[in-house]
């Protein structure tokens, strides 16, 4: 399978990439590691006339602490994020989930910014940044703006990013003292999650729960969070995991199966976040 004819442009800075986007408008698509976009292009589900490669923009590759947050450059590869000492210590949920994406080869190419901007509800990292209440920074012709993760994911493959904007940074509140849990279920190890659950644990606030593949966009399990706040045990709260969701219904996994799976995985992730080891594992 070969992508449709395209014109490849490589940007070496954010300014240069913004200029290329302004020049080509909606005909252009940004290419980071390419591990979400290229498969779609090979299937001709996407056929951008111009591909702007931002994968080599060095100014977007970093992980550093800035006060209460860890700032992650959008072109940081999953492998680098997963093995980064600062990320592992200060935002361990995000660092762990980066190591759960795809397989080693995918993690050598794929980037956190590319994964988030793709807006795939079956991707793992959106659930993690949702649970962490991260802030996403986008740059456009009029400068930079901050978008809370909760407002970023708008629907199926749709985000709050404008066609002339570039996601440049992910700002994750430091959470070295908070427990966390991540559970996902796949048919094969490297597959997209049938369902996944990311939990950032309780102290000092209530646990936050993000869901993978339980609707058209990555979402928070708000019913679980409300139940916990009202004093429910993790097991009781997890029973609410599928409330308000609209999981996909397909031959490999029915919507009903996904709803059940969400409750099971949420219970396990909550237990891990609380420092326990889930029963049966």
């Amino acid at each position: 399978m070969i992508p449709a004819t395209l014109s490849y442009r490589r940007a070496s800075s954010v300014d240069e990439a913004l200029g290329m986007l302004a020049e080509h408008g909606e005909d252009a698509k940004l290419l980071a590691g390419g591990h979400s976009l290229l498969p779609l292009m090979k299937l001709r589900l996407a056929a951008p006339e111009v591909v702007v490669d931002i994968g080599r923009i060095e100014e977007l590759r970093y992980v550093r602490t800035e006060g209460d947050v860890v700032a992650i450059g959008a072109m940081t590869r999953h492998h680098d994020l997963h093995t980064d000492g600062v990320a592992g210590r200060e935002v361990p949920l995000v660092a762990h989930v980066a190591g759960e994406v795809g397989d080693p080869q995918v993690r050598h190419r794929g980037t956190i910014g590319g994964s988030l901007a793709h807006g795939d509800p079956a991707a793992d990292l959106p659930a993690a940044v949702l649970a962490c209440d991260a802030t996403l920074v986008a740059r456009g012709p009029d400068g930079a703006r901050e978008i809370p993760a909760a407002e970023f994911f708008a629907g199926l493959f749709t985000t709050a990013l404008g066609p002339d904007e570039i996601l440049t940074e992910i700002r994750v509140p430091r959470a070295a003292d908070r427990g966390w849990g991540f559970e996902k279920f796949t048919r094969r190890r490297f597959d997209w999650s049938i369902v996944g659950v990311a939990v950032l644990g309780g102290s000092p606030t209530q646990p936050a729960v993000g869901l993978v593949n339980m609707g058209e966009a990555p979402i928070r399990a708000t019913a679980v969070e409300r139940a916990l706040a009202a004093g429910a045990t993790p097991a009781e709260a997890a029973e609410h995991a599928a409330e308000g969701t609209s999981p996909p219904d397909e031959p490999h996994a029915s919507a009903g199966y996904r709803r059940h799976l969400a409750t099971v995985l949420t219970a396990r992730a909550l237990e891990r976040a609380a420092g326990g080891s889930p029963a049966g594992l």
Binding site: I2, Y8, L38, G102, P104, Q105
Partner: protein
């Protein structure tokens, strides 16, 4: 566009269509046909090569993205008649059945051992999760990678 890639230590410079995938560039432009195309959907790992020393699936990389990089395919591992330790271990431990997954499996193993020179059997299985063997011949492949790391393989 014109892409310049160091392939197996040799500088190559070729004019390719912008949409050319790295695996097609290697096989069709440069004639290096050891790298196989299996699933063509970033799943099976048969097309795994090293880009700047790290394993990637070359069916999901544009040749243009590898412009300026160093690429290693399985053809580039042996030193003359002497096989690379991973290749030799695959032969010694019969780490293949039909052989289709082997070039990608070997390149993934080389990348794995670069990052983790003394992996456990579990490390090897996890580290090769991006490579499928449809003969299900994983046991001997794990033996081969453990042996290539210089560790004893239990009999």
């Amino acid at each position: 566009m014109r892409v310049t890639i160091e392939v197996n230590g040799r500088r190559t410079e070729e004019e390719v269509e912008d949409r050319t995938l790295l695996v097609h560039h290697l096989r069709d432009t440069l004639g290096l046909t050891a790298t196989n195309i299996g699933c063509d959907t970033t799943s099976c790992g048969a097309c795994t090569v090293l880009v700047d020393g790290e394993s990637v699936k070359s069916c999901t990389v544009l040749a243009a993205q590898a412009d300026g990089a160093a690429v290693t395919t399985v053809e580039g591992l042996a030193e003359g008649e002497t096989l690379h330790p991973v290749q030799q271990a695959f032969q010694d431990h019969h780490g293949l059945q039909c052989g289709f997954c082997t070039p990608g499996m070997i390149m993934a193993a080389v990348s794995l051992l670069e990052a983790n020179p003394r992996p456990t059997r579990e490390d090897v299985r996890t580290g090769l999760e991006g490579n499928l063997c449809r003969c299900t011949g994983y046991h001997n492949i794990v033996d081969a990678v453990v042996a290539a790391s210089g560790q004893e393989v239990p009999r």
